[in-house]
Symmetry: C2
Subunit: 336 residues, 2 copies
Amino acid sequence: MGRASRSVTIYDVAKAAGVAPSTVSRTFSRPGRVNVETGDRIRAVAEELGYRTNPQARALSTTRTWMLAVVLADLTNPGFFDLVRGAEAAAAAADYTLMLAETQESAEREQEVLHRASAGVDGIVLTGSRMTSGAIRQVAKVCPVVVVNRDVPGVPSVITDIAHGIRAAAEHLRSGGHREVTYLAGPEASWPDGMRWRCLRAAGADLRMRIRRLGPFPPTVNGGVQAAAAWIDQKELRGTAVVAYNDLQAIGFIRAVLRAGGQVPGDVSVIGYDNTTAAELITPELTTVAAPMHSIGATAARHVLSVLSGSRNAPPGPMVLPTRLVVRGSTGPRNK
Amino acid sequence: MGRASRSVTIYDVAKAAGVAPSTVSRTFSRPGRVNVETGDRIRAVAEELGYRTNPQARALSTTRTWMLAVVLADLTNPGFFDLVRGAEAAAAAADYTLMLAETQESAEREQEVLHRASAGVDGIVLTGSRMTSGAIRQVAKVCPVVVVNRDVPGVPSVITDIAHGIRAAAEHLRSGGHREVTYLAGPEASWPDGMRWRCLRAAGADLRMRIRRLGPFPPTVNGGVQAAAAWIDQKELRGTAVVAYNDLQAIGFIRAVLRAGGQVPGDVSVIGYDNTTAAELITPELTTVAAPMHSIGATAARHVLSVLSGSRNAPPGPMVLPTRLVVRGSTGPRNK
DNA sequence: CTGAAAGCGCTAACAG
DNA sequence: CTGTTAGCGCTTTCAG
């Protein structure tokens, strides 16, 4: 016999209100199916007694926890804020509570987190995953999952139009006269990294630009600093423009170049990815590819919710949202 | 009768392993109290069947959810990252899972979030609260709470040595020859805001500096921009130094001043608060007061946990952690 | 519309 | 060490 600490239950309320427990239960779970007067009385008594419905007990009999998990690789990455808020908004609209978990870029931690979460939430929005597609499909079997920024066949996902954003970036550089651009690679297990690289290559081929790749480097300011060191080492091969895996990396790169006496965009034009708030903070301000993070989060959450409510029409492929290039001061015409 | 969707339960495992359900239960909740061979067999069978212990059911009989909530005002505020990670580390060490909730600076939302969370988690770390002390005490009655960055009599809390940090800031300015400093106020319901202001006043009185207050302004980059406009309007009264509510505000302030043609620190020295990563990103780099956010989070979480495990010795007052001034390029000698 | 009763999956006495 | 037996608080048939 579990010796739970006493709190106010439907039984207490029922006794105080002179009705059956099931009526109290209905009052809170199916308000329509109870006499409105009785309902009011019960609610009043409940309020007075300080009754709080116990979500665990409810979940036990309904298998619904009314919780959604958003699991992400790195809390620190500003790109996620709006995503989280979008998801939160969509969840709240459906009376769901959001739970956030960070995996710190570790596939192992991610596995563990997912394992835990999947038992306690109704659905999962998985972003920045470092796990294999197989492992993700596995999780998706146990608990509805929507993957963000990655295409995992068989699992619903929402991604952005990377090809378009990268193409716009390449065209922008091309129109500034740049013909040799270096891509600073992000984490190896990152799907968007591979995608950005391929798209940039394709755009380069199309626009007759030479594209080189450097890295991988961590997706952080410090990673960008490392990248700059490597880039500087390249001497004559380095070209006149750089597209970084993300804003943080681009910022680190710019700072390191400036510190080494270089000029941005004088010596090198730099483009980031994500359009985080930091992009506007630095000098020069960062040209970057922007995605509608809020919508992404909202779309993903809404889709998990729709699966939960039994919608059987799995979309044929990933849902794709648009990107756009935001031109600022870190890019300029070629200068040599 | 709740018609829960079938998943693997201890009964299934028990049958397959030829033991009583309670033995299976023990295997997972009290591994010590079961024959190691039997335990191994059960674990093997469980693994094979894909058994997952149901946290809701467990919580129902133990009243322990093994979840901690960290509720914070603004996800975007970089100061929180390390706090969250510290809390996460402490929680993980005790086998607890962290759940994050954002209140977006709204007391109403906060109330609501707390209401929800308190029913589903074992304890709460409450940071950046905008609620009244009374309301917080109320919540604390229902569910163990540790408040961060605020002193709420009767509720355990961890705060930082604001007086020390602000005093160091004032001394630093004073030694640069500054005698008139303006404090840019943060949100009105913010406890640290009031505290910083009072400490700065006190330090000013002590060091014979004149302290003025401007605001309140939002604790954001944009708030800093607004603050700069107000500050510039002050004309002769504005003094030669500014202490902002936080880094974001300080950054906005600096940018706006630079944009208006002013010099930093030439015309005005600026000090932030929090030592967020952005402080190092901007030009000039920001002088700021740093607090050990990771420790704060860890301390808070550990304390909630200790209350949960029945430690009855409530600390007499808030636990206070040290602060220090990080001097960078946004402050310099007085120049007029 | 309301009451009675049977679980949801797990834990915790209590015997043996 | 293991089996038996009551529940934890809530939902949901099934009667009335």
